[in-house]
């Protein structure tokens, strides 16, 4: 009999696309797992669903997994995507680098503990700039932040990747994205920002099926990136009806593909963790100095 995997996905999010593509694949029928998709409205709903046991798996970040583990839970993480947010300005903006942000109004999605914001500050510090003091910060919900820049109420925005992609499609210019920031901080590895999160004990009982699911998921992503017909099928799920935005979304999505996942990347993650731990003054990571062992799932 087949293993039932209940997955909580953000409605119309990339995981939703991927699962749609996966279920569309005739091979899936013969696989040893069955996917049951539970659409949810936002990321927090996913966390609630996972913890209440309503789903087996969601897509989330590894920092949260680590902090869960530090409080005794046995959740673990398997990479899903490396796409991350970006700093975006209007096309004709005088801003061309982080230095130019001096004295400008910066819209930031997600609040002061947003990873990209913390890392951006670290990068600025390397260039002897106290970004926190140098810009006028406007925190807000991602859609509202996008509206702010469209109304010229802010000069630049640091937003989640798909909100940034939408702006780009409308001619806004990307200054730097999450991976660029990390590179600037000396982390060359492509560290995933998001991954599947699930209970380790549960995973150990369903190793084989889970492994197959991850493989199938990767294939589905590859298909979406390589086959235009596969992409066409999931376009309704993007909820975007103009071609430039669709193209931009697909491009950014595919750039987030994780090709390498091994010791090196995990050590890089450890370094990022330490940076965030200090930058956020422990608020983001919790008290634990180090990434909890077992945060990253190894099937072997």
């Amino acid at each position: 009999e087949k293993t039932l995997i209940k997955i909580g996905v953000q409605a119309y999010g990339t995981a939703d696309w991927e699962l749609a593509a996966l279920q569309d694949d005739p091979q899936t029928k013969s696989a040893d797992f069955i996917i049951k998709k539970q659409p949810l409205a936002n990321a927090e709903a996913g966390k609630i669903a996972l913890q209440s046991g309503a789903v087996d798996m969601i897509v989330s970040d590894w920092i949260w997994v680590s902090s869960l583990r530090s409080s005794g839970e046995d959740f673990t993480f398997y990479p899903y995507s490396g796409t991350s947010g970006a700093l975006v300005v209007p096309e004709d903006s005088p801003i061309h680098s982080i230095k130019d942000l001096q004295g400008k109004r910066l819209g930031i999605a997600g609040g002061e503990l947003d990873k990209n914001w913390l890392l951006l500050q670290a990068l600025a510090k390397q260039e002897q700039m106290d970004l926190n003091a140098a810009v006028e910060k406007v925190f807000g919900a991602p859609p509202l932040i996008n509206e702010q820049i469209k109304q010229n109420r802010v000069d630049a925005v640091l937003n989640y990747w798909h909100f940034a992609a939408r702006l780009e499609a409308q001619g806004y210019r990307q200054i730097i994205d999450g991976r660029g920031i990390l590179k600037g901080l000396g982390i060359k590895e492509n560290v995933p920002s998001l991954g599947y999160v699930f209970k380790e004990s549960w995973a150990n009982n369903h190793k084989q099926a889970l492994d197959n699911f991850f493989k199938a998921s990767k294939q589905a992503k590859n298909r979406l990136c390589t086959s235009d017909s596969a992409w066409q099928k999931i376009i309704p799920l993007t909820r975007v009806d103009d071609l430039p935005t669709q193209t931009r979304l697909r491009q950014r999505y595919c750039e987030g593909n994780i090709e390498q996942w091994g010791k090196q990347e995990q050590q890089a993650a450890e370094r990022i963790y330490t940076i965030l731990h200090t930058l956020s003054n422990r608020q983001l990571t919790g008290n634990s100095e180090h990434l909890q062992p077992g945060t990253f799932w190894s099937a072997h």
Binding site: P39, L40, A49, A54, E147
Partner: protein, 226 residues
Amino acid sequence: MAFYLNSNILPAPARVASVFWQSCLSGQLPYHLGVTLLRLVISFSIAMLLGCGLGIVLGRNKKLDAFFDNWLVIFLNVPALVTIILCYVWFGLVESAAIMAVVINKLPNVIVTIREGTRTLDQDLLDMARCYHLSKRKTLVHVIWPQLHPFVMAATRSGLALIWKIILVVELLGRSNGMGYQLHLFFQLFDVAGIMAYTIAFVAVIQLIELAILKPLDRQSRRWRR
């Protein structure tokens, strides 16, 4: 303001109407609205029934009131977020947890309003009822309830509105259908026309309730006034 009328921020009425019409045709809107209304009716009924009962008891019993008063203030002011998370985490992402979360959020409001009403009950009429040995039921239905009516109406009107506000969050955090779920998706896409269309549908339903149920009740209960 006219400046904005053309932007997608405040979409033109025609656009909202077309979105409205399409979501009706696709069955999306009726489905989500129906789901939310069902939750609203159930949780509203539970909250009003319990709330009126407890409100009357606390209003008439000083000792119980002194004891529960603190709890009432706490429950009144615990953020919806907290109760919702706890309900979901304890009872799972099931319908009953959602409804319980709504009830817990609404109940203290009803209690507070009805308790205030109970404190103003006319002692002379209660004495009359006692003296003529009216049964508990008769006293409640014919002597106490009509005096509470304005408070019940206030609790009903502002209660429907409050439940609707809470139910949105409840659906957002743990359901896969309903207006809250849907509105949040629209918000993510910044589809203001969609938000408007759904809002209008809901407000229309409440207007209907107002016209078909509350207004006649009002009239009925005020007919004796000069």
